[in-house]
Amino acid sequence: MKGIVFTEFLEMVEEKFGYTMVDNLLSTTELPSEGVYTSVGTYQHTEMVSLVINLAKQTNIPINELLKVFGGYLFKTFTKTYSHFMAKAPDAFTFLASIHNYIHVEVQKLYPDAELPHFDIERPDDKTLVMTYSSARKMADLAFGLIEGCVEYYKENVEISQIPINEDGSITKFVIIKK
């Protein structure tokens, strides 16, 4: 997992709970990297899972909530770092539809070792976008947060429903309907 996700996660934790929580997490979670993260590095995603589980334990906030919040935070960061992606898409649907075929293609070029989730896009009608998420990382909640962040960024009024397709959550369908 890219270092930026760790650094951004720790920044969000510091921002919400203070550096003490960050230190607590890093100190109490068993981490092969010993909690040293740089945005240009690459780390095992299990470290992220351990960190989130630990944070949920420390704060008594469900993991899925944490991930959704982090998704929204992460998207904001992306809008600053990778604003040129957003500039190309005029609205949220266009942007979301282009993730898999465009953004992920470009990401892959930059980071050949990146393991990216897979999205299938459907447009049953003008007001509806169906995104089917499949990833061994089972981080559909993070994806939800990111989608929320995106909608928020484009300031669009939509309703997002998250429908797990299988039990382990590796495949999840998001139905986004414009209001």
């Binding site: 550096y19 003490t20 960050v22 230190d23 890093l26 010993e34 040293v36 740089t38 240009v40 590095g41």
Partner: protein
């Protein structure tokens, strides 16, 4: 403190993170640097390689370009979709399109539509099956609309897995295509020709393999296989295998081998087949640039022509043989009579050779100088296209004459015009000689016959005249009251004289009939009356004999019939006389009935049946023959043997038939059938009564011209008995003198008299302005021949009595003429001549052309008339010669003005003047002629005036 620890850990983490990041960045930077260095090198290499590649490519491209530009073929590329992506400049030369006009267009636009589909299929297959290259030929349209045939090789250019393009090298093959086309057309034509030839054709190549064979060939040799299946077959053993088909197999085989060996053209050889057919064979070796390339056999079945020719040849031979044997000389001439061809037999006939004849004028060479225009007349016929035959005398080379009969026929040219004529000559010289001899013989015979006839006539005269006297005297002696014995002698005398007369009459009748001089004179007569008279006549004759004569007449036969009653009478007398002669006792039945009627005639059947001796069966055939008497038992009755023969002929000249039926010892039946017309008018009364002296004859005056004293006496006695005044003149001259003195009611004129015969006397009386010019003149002639009768009539006589005659005969004549001519005789003599013109003749001459008629009349009156008065001058000078000539000259002018009567008179004058026969007559005749001419003058002048007025 806790916080410090926290910060320390934070800083430591951040430092570690920074160091980690720096390490990563350093690694990355190093990797980047290395990569960069590598890229830099690569780039340099690449640039170099590219430069090299470009240079090489440019060079290659240039080479290719040059190559492409230099080839004569169109080279192009098309995309798999079929669009032109490249084409070389040759295309402009070939198709007229520039490169830019082609590139971008679809290939199908250029191809002739009907070839598009097949080419698309080819391309599809190529692409589908990844075929490396194909070759195709098809026509394309040039820019100016012409068609060019293209032959192209297309190569498939492939990328990794896809076809990138198609490269084609296309060649203009129009010339080759045209050559191929014409070659194919020629081949097809020749093959069709050969296949359909009515001759069997077999073409072999130099290895004796069949190249071509037609159905006719197979038919000729009975080959069952189809011709096309024979192609390629080896013919080396063909002759051996088929030799049995020929009449002379070994000769055939040897000949074939010889032909194949020599390889020379052999035309139209006859081959006899085993089955009787005749084939005509031609061998044609085929050489290509002096190299033997096979040969052609040609067989035609000429059996029919051969047979026909054989027939013609045989027929020609036959006819030539016939011609030669018939000795018919054939000669052909053109329209100018120039000899075109002379056949051998003609040459033999005429003595000239063919060379001497051809080119010469046939008439100039062959006609004798004295020949008439027979040839020319007949050649004129030829020009009209008709044939004719004629006899002609030709001059042979040795000068002798040759009589030929020529059958000439025109020769027609191709367009049907007459181009000449063909004459078939037959030598009739011998026949001609024979003919001349025959002619001579006939002439002699004719003369002999004439002499005989004359002799008969004279004899009959010489015999009849004294006989007439004997019979006449006998009649008179009966009137002198003879005693019984004298009466008996007289009776015998009369019977004998009568028989003699019958005999002579029969002979004369026969002669007359045979000479065709018996005339059937048809006039109305009472048939039933005649039959009854005949019956009565015989009843009287057989009085006292035990014979009955019965007459049965069909109830339908009444009134008058038109026919010759005299001939009928003679037939009946002959047949009944015969019956009476041969019948001792019993009956003679005369049965007459109407057998049938047709449009023209009533056919009357007369049957005379007797109970006499009959005719033996074996003699039946000769019964009607001349001089055949079937008097089997020396019958007391004599006969001439002519009776039945005459009877038969008399029946036949009337158009009837006669037949006989007889049983010997029982009797005979003669049956004859005659056609008569039913008459509407009554017949002249006939006079069969004997010694009748009518009162109206009393006081009549008759002139008798007769030199024979006995006859004078006989006639005198009769006339005295009938109380008729008469004057006797002992010759013609005296008769004329008497006729000028006194008017008679009738003149009896003997023909043969001294000084002037009866004809001359009659002519003189008729043509002299005498009292008796119109008096009936009756000839007394011993000859009953028709020519004498007509001569008498033409001389101006009215009738004749044949000597010897019965008193009755003379009486009926006297009655007929004196009785009927009363009024005429009493007329004044001035009215005897009427000066009327012959109107019929004038109308025929002039018709309605009065002007012409007037001119002729005027000429006659002014110029010709004085010449007639000159005739009297010649008479005074007794210049008979000039009288004859002048008469002859003037004769034709008379008819021109309707003086036809005068014409006949001047003819007599001319004739007599020429003969100088009778000067006295001539004087009188000319005077009368001139006087009559004067009499005509007023009439002629009046007529001229009338014509002028109209």
């Amino acid at each position: 403190m806790e916080e410090l620890e926290l910060l320390k850990r934070r800083i430591e983490r951040e430092q570690k993170a920074r160091k980690q990041a720096e390490n990563i960045l350093e690694e990355k930077a190093l990797a980047l640097h290395t990569t960069n260095e590598q890229l830099k090198n690569l780039n340099e290499n690449l640039a170099k390689q590219v430069q090299l590649g470009i240079a090489e490519l440019q060079k290659t491209e240039k080479n290719y370009q040059e190559l492409i530009e230099s080839v004569q073929d169109i080279i192009y590329k098309i995309s798999p979709q079929g669009y032109f992506t490249f084409v070389n400049s040759v295309v402009e030369n070939r198709l007229g399109y520039t490169e830019s006009e082609i590139i971008g267009r679809h290939f199908t636009e250029l191809i002739i539509p009907q070839y598009v589909e097949s080419l698309i299929t080819v391309y599809r297959e190529m692409i589908g099956q990844k075929m490396e290259s194909t070759y195709n030929e098809f026509p394309v349209k040039t820019k100016d609309g012409n068609v060019v045939w293209i032959g192209q090789t297309v190569r498939l250019i492939q990328g990794e897995n896809t076809v990138t393009e198609l490269v084609a090298v296309a060649r203009d093959i129009s010339d080759r295509k045209a050559t191929e086309d014409s070659l194919r057309a020629t081949q097809t034509r020749l093959a069709t020709l050969i296949t359909n030839l009515q001759k069997g054709v077999l073409v072999e190549d130099e290895n004796r393999k069949i190249v071509l064979v037609n159905q006719q060939f197979c038919d000729t040799f009975g080959i069952q296989t189809k011709p096309e299946l024979l192609i390629g077959m080896d013919c080396s053993n063909a002759a051996e295998q088929s030799k049995h088909l020929f009449k002379h197999p070994n000769i055939f085989l040897a000949k074939i081998n010889k032909i194949l060996d020599k390889k020379r053209l052999i035309v139209d050889e006859n081959l006899q087949m085993a089955d009787g057919r005749i084939l005509l064979r031609t061998y044609i070796p085929i050489f290509l640039e002096k190299q033997y390339r096979g040969h052609l056999w040609e067989y035609s079945d000429i059996t029919e022509q051969y047979n026909a020719r054989e027939l013609i040849r045989k027929s020609e031979e036959k006819y030539r043989g016939i011609m030669n044997n018939m000795e018919l000389g054939l000669l052909e001439v053109d329209n100018n009579q120039i000899i075109i061809r002379a056949y051998d037999s003609f040459c033999q006939m005429i003595g000239y050779s063919q060379e001497e004849l051809v080119g010469k004028s046939a008439p100039a060479l062959l006609l004798p100088s004295d020949s008439d225009d027979t040839l020319n007349k007949n050649q004129e016929e030829r020009k009209k296209g008709s044939a004719s035959s004629y006899e002609l005398q030709l001059k042979k080379k040795d000068g002798s004459r040759l009589w030929v009969i020529i059958s000439g026929a025109p020769i027609f040219g191709d367009d049907g015009e007459v181009v000449g004529s063909m004459g078939i000559h037959y030598d009739i010289t011998e026949r001609k000689l024979l003919e001349q001899e025959l002619e001579q013989a006939k002439l002699i015979a004719e003369q002999a016959r004439q002499s005989e006839k004359q002799f008969l006539a004279n004899m009959s005269h010489e015999i009849r005249t004294p006989l007439n006297a004997i019979i006449g005297m006998t009649h008179l002696l009966f009137d002198t009251r003879p005693n019984k014995q004298q009466y008996e002698y007289l009776d015998i005398l009369k019977t004998s004289a009568d028989f003699l007369l019958t005999l002579i009459s029969d002979l004369l009748d026969m002669a007359k009939i045979e000479a065709g001089k018996v005339e059937v004179q048809n006039h109305p007569f009472d048939l039933a009356g005649l039959l009854r008279t005949t019956q009565r006549l015989f009843q009287i004759k057989i009085e006292g004999r035990p014979i009955e004569i019965n007459l049965m007449i069909d109830g339908r036969i009444t009134g008058y019939y038109i026919g010759d009653d005299l001939i009928l009478n003679q037939i009946l007398l002959n047949l009944i006389g015969n019956a009476e002669k041969f019948t001792e006792k019993g009956s003679i039945d005369i049965t007459v009935k109407q057998k049938r009627q047709d449009e023209k005639f009533d056919w009357i059947e007369f049957k005379i049946e007797d109970t006499g001796s009959g005719i033996p069966a074996e003699k039946m055939d000769m019964i009607f023959q001349k001089f055949k008497q079937i008097n089997s038992h020396g019958h007391k009755h004599k006969g001439t043997g002519l009776g039945l023969s005459i009877t038969k002929q008399l029946v036949e000249i009337q158009g009837g038939t006669i037949s006989v039926n007889s049983d010997e010892g029982v009797g005979s039946t003669f049956t004859f059938l005659l056609p008569y017309q039913k008459s509407e008018t009554e017949a002249l009364p006939t006079t069969h009564e004997i010694h009748f002296a009518p009162k109206n004859l009393n006081g009549s005056k008759v002139l008798v011209a007769e030199d024979n004293i006995m006859n004078q006496k006989y006639i005198s006695s009769l006339l005295t008995k009938w109380e008729i005044d008469f004057v006797i003149a002992s010759d013609g001259k005296k008769a004329v003198e008497q006729a000028q003195k006194k008017l008679f009611d009738l003149i009896l004129m003997d023909i043969q008299m001294p000084n002037m015969d009866g004809y001359e006397a009659t002519i003189t009386i008729r043509n002299t302005n005498s009292l008796n010019q119109k008096t009936p003149i009756i000839a007394l002639t011993a000859s009953a021949m028709l020519d004498q009768k007509s001569k008498a009539m033409s001389a101006g006589m009215d009738d004749f009595v044949t000597k010897p005659f019965a008193p009755n005969n003379l009486l009926s004549i006297l009655q007929r003429y004196i009785g009927s001519n009363d009024s005429v005789v009493k007329q004044p003599e001035t009215l005897a001549i009427s000066y009327d013109l012959d109107q019929t003749s004038l109308e025929q001459l002039y018709g309605d052309d009065k002007e012409y008629a007037a001119e002729m009349f005027e000429t006659f009156l002014e110029d010709v008339l004085p010449d007639f008065y000159q005739l009297q001058n010649f008479v005074e000078k007794k210049d008979w010669e000039n009288l004859s000539k002048e008469s002859h000259k003037l004769k034709p002018t008379l008819a021109m003005v309707g003086l036809n009567l005068m014409e006949s008179k001047i003819v007599e004058i001319e004739k007599n003047a020429k003969e100088q026969a009778n000067e006295d007559w001539l004087i009188s005749a000319v005077n009368t002629f001139v006087a009559e001419m004067d009499g005509y003058l007023p009439t002629l002048k009046q007529r001229l005036k009338t014509l002028r007025e109209d």
